[in-house]
C-alpha cells in the first residue's frame, strides 16, 4: 500500500507516519505550503516544514512539499474574510480540511499513484458490509472527528487515520518517544495558521476589509451602546461590548450580529438559548439522516440531543431536545448517531431563525 502522509511537523502526524511505516506501508511524507504571507504560528511556516522534513529523514521516508498557496487563498482565506464581513464566525481549519487536505491534496495523491492519504487526526475509519463509517477517535479526550466530518463514501476509502486508533495520549507520546522523535514534546498547533499571534484577527482583517461601528441594542430594541468594529463581534460574546455593568450578576451576551444594519443585539443568558438551529451546506458521510441525533457545535464541546429534519437540498433543521446556546453563524454543527460515536454528517450554522 502506497500511502501519502500529511505531515505538519507536530506529534500526531509524525506518529501517524511512524505507525504506517511499522505496518509495512510504503510511506511518503508531504507538507503543504499554504500561506506565503506573514505568519508566526500554525502549520505552514518554514520552520514547521523543517520539522516535518527532519522527522521524515529520521523515519527514512521521502518528504515532499506542495505549494497550494493559491488554492488556500481562494478556498480558505478569502471566504474567511468574506464571512467576517458578513457578520459570521467562520472555522477556517474545517474549510482547509474540506478544500485543501481532503480535496486538493487527496486528489494530488491519487493522481500521483498513492493508494491512500493519511493524516494525524484522532478519528477512525471503518468499513462494514461495503459501507464506510467515520467514528470518533479511540481516545475520546483527543477526538477530532468534528473537524473531518465532511468525509464521505467517495473520500473515506482513500483516507487513513492511524493515530485515531490509539487509546490514549500516553500511547501517542510513547510511540514518539521510542523513536526519539524531535517533535515528541512539540505542542500541536491550536491557532489559525494565517493569523499572526501578534495583532491577531483584528490586525489581519484590517488589512483586507474596512471596519464599521455598530449600534448595540437590547432585545426590546433600545440602544444601549456602540461597538467600534462590528466585523469582530461574535454571537455568544460577552466581553468587549463597552456596556456598563447593569446591576449585579446581570451579564449580557451578543445574541445577533447584523453588519447590514450595523446592529448588535445583546440579551441575557436566557435570550441566548434557542430551541432550533438551521444548518446549511450539509454533507453526509453515508446519505441524509432524519430523526434523533446528537449535535456537536464546537471542536471540543459535548454533543447535545436533537431531532434532525432534512429540509431539502443541503439544509437541515435542528430541533434541540433542551434549549441550547445559539451557535454563531459560520461555525460547524456536526451530527453523530445516538451512541455518540458515528459521524453522520455536518454543515454550517446559518443565521438563527426568529
Amino acid at each position: 500500500m502506497k500511502v501519502l502522509v500529511a505531515m505538519s511537523g507536530g506529534v500526531d502526524s509524525s506518529v501517524a507516519a511512524t505507525l504506517l511505516r511499522r505496518e509495512g506501508d510504503h510511506v511518503t511524507g508531504v507538507t503543504m505550503r499554504l500561506w506565503g504571507g506573514e505568519s508566526d504560528t500554525g502549520c505552514c511556516s518554514v520552520s514547521d516544514v523543517d520539522d516535518a522534513r527532519r522527522v521524515a529523514q529520521q523515519l527514512d521516508i521521502d518528504h515532499l512539499v506542495f505549494n497550494f498557496g493559491d488554492d488556500f487563498e481562494q478556498h480558505v482565506v478569502s471566504p474567511y474574510v468574506d464571512a467576517h464581513r458578513g457578520g459570521s464566525t467562520p472555522n477556517p481549519c474545517i474549510e482547509c480540511n474540506r478544500r485543501l487536505k481532503f480535496d486538493r491534496l487527496a486528489e494530488r495523491a491519487r493522481v500521483l499513484g498513492f493508494d491512500a492519504l493519511a493524516t494525524g487526526h484522532h478519528a477512525r475509519v471503518r468499513n462494514a458490509d461495503g459501507r464506510w463509517t467515520l467514528r470518533r477517535g479511540a481516545d475520546r479526550a483527543k477526538d477530532q472527528s468534528y473537524v473531518v466530518h465532511m468525509l464521505d463514501q467517495r473520500a473515506l476509502p482513500r483516507i487513513r487515520f492511524p493515530v485515531g486508533e490509539l487509546r490514549d495520549k500516553a500511547e501517542v507520546r510513547r510511540v514518539a518517544a521510542e523513536l526519539g522523535l524531535r517533535t515528541a514534546t512539540k505542542p500541536d498547533s491550536q491557532d489559525v495558521c494565517f493569523i499572526p499571534t501578534h495583532g491577531g484577527r483584528a490586525s489581519f482583517l484590517s488589512r483586507r476589509i474596512p471596519f464599521h461601528p455598530a449600534t448595540v441594542i437590547d432585545t426590546a430594541g433600545s440602544t444601549v451602546g456602540t461597538v467600534p468594529i462590528v466585523e469582530l463581534v461574535t454571537v455568544g460574546q460577552r466581553r468587549g461590548l463597552g456596556l456598563a455593568t447593569a446591576g449585579a450578576g446581570r451579564k449580557r451576551y451578543v445574541v445577533e450580529v447584523d453588519p447590514a444594519t450595523a446592529t448588535v443585539m445583546v440579551g441575557s443568558d436566557a435570550d441566548l438559548l434557542v430551541g432550533r438551529a438551521v444548518v446549511g451546506g450539509v454533507t453526509w458521510v453515508d446519505g441524509p439522516v432524519d430523526g434523533p441525533v446528537l449535535v456537536q457545535c464546537s471542536a471540543h464541546g459535548a454533543a447535545h440531543a436533537a431531532r434532525a429534519t432534512h429540509a431539502g437540498g443541503d439544509r437541515v433543521d435542528i430541533e434541540w431536545d433542551e434549549p441550547q446556546r445559539r451557535v454563531a453563524p459560520g461555525q460547524s454543527l456536526v451530527f453523530y448517531d445516538t451512541d455518540d460515536d458515528r459521524v453522520l454528517g455536518g454543515g454550517i450554522a446559518q443565521r438563527s431563525p426568529t
Binding site: T31, R33, V46, L64, N67, R108
Partner: protein, 383 residues
Amino acid sequence: MSVSERLVYLDHAATTPMRASAVEAMLPFLTDRFANPSGAHRFARDARRAVDEARDRVAVVIGCQPGEVVFTSGGTESDNTTIVGAATTRGGRVVCPATEHHAVLHSVERLGGTVVDVDAAGRVDLDRLATALDDDVAVVSVMAVNNEVGSVTELGPVSELVRERAPRAVLHTDAVQAASWVDVRELWPHVDAMALSAHKFGGPKGVGIMAVRAGVDVRPLIVGGGQERDRRSGTHNVAGIVATAVALDDTDAERDAERDRVAALRDRLVDGIVHGAGDVRETVDRSDKVAASAHVLIGGVESEALLYLLDEADVCASAASACASGAMEPSHVLAAMGVERSWAMGALRLTLGRTTVEADVDRAVDVLVDAVSTLRRRTKVSL
C-alpha cells in the same frame, strides 16, 4: 542517497558536479597546506601564493586585472555587495529588469529601486530601461543569462544605453548562469562589475567571484580583518578559491566544444518532448537561449506533480525557483514575461551539463512523455 548510475541529472543550472581537477586541487589546502594566508610565516605565504595565483587565473578568464577580482562566498553575496555597496557609496537609484535572480531583485527592492519590464523572452526591454535611467541612477544590474528560462541578454546595447542615459551608474551583470556557456571575456568590456558562482561551473559551493572594475568604489557588506583589499573581510576560503580557479580555467578551455555538444543534446531533448508529449510550448526560442537550457510549458499538467513522477523514475528536473521550504513558488520570471498562468503551471526546466550524455536525454524523454500522459489520464478521470 548518492547520485547513482541510473539517475538522470538534468538540473545543472541548480548546480553541476565538481570537476575532478578542482576536487584534486583543493585537497592539499584542506590537509597539509592548511595555513591562513594572512599570517606572517612561510606556511602562510604558501597559502597566500595559492590565492594570488588563483586570482591571476580568474582574471585571465574574465579578461580583467587581478586586482579587480574579489573572492566571496557565492553569487548571491557578489550580487548583494555590488548593488548595495555601489549604491551606498554613490547614492542614487538602483535599477534592474523584473526577471533577475532574487539575489539581485531583492537587493534592488530593498533599496527601493526601479524594476523594469522585460520582453517575451525575459530580456530587459531597452525602451522601458531607457525611461528608468537618468543622472540620479547609481546602479543598473542586468543578468547575462536568465537562470530559469535560459535567455541571453546582449550586454553591448544595454551598456551603450546606460552610459548615455545614466552616466553615473555602475553597470553590474549577474553572469552566474553564463560562465559555462558564454565567453565571459566578451561580457566584461560592457560592464563595471560581474558576479560568478563557482559551483555552477564545476567548482565548489560557497565560493563566488565579484569582479569590480578599478576605480569603482563598492562599500563592503562584510567588514572585519580587511581581506580582499578591504572589499570583503573574512579568512580566505583557500581550498575553495584554488578549486574555483581550476574549474573556471577548465571551463574556459572546453567551452566551445562543450557548447556544441550540449546544444545538440538539448535539441534532441526538446524535440523529443515536443513530439512525444504533445501540447507543449517552448518558453523561449532556442536561438535566444544558452545551449544547455531546455524550458518548456506542458499543457494539462502541474509541474509539482510532474516533478514527483520524474523523481520517482530517477530523473532530476526543476520547475520554477524553489523557496526556502522546498515548495515550488510561482515563477516571477514567467509572470514578467507575460506567460499565462495556466501555461506557467506546467513549466519544466531541464538543464544539461558537462556530464550529460545522449542516453540521459533519451531516458528523460521516455520518462517525461510517460509521466505527462499518466498525469493527463489520471486527472481526466476525476473530471
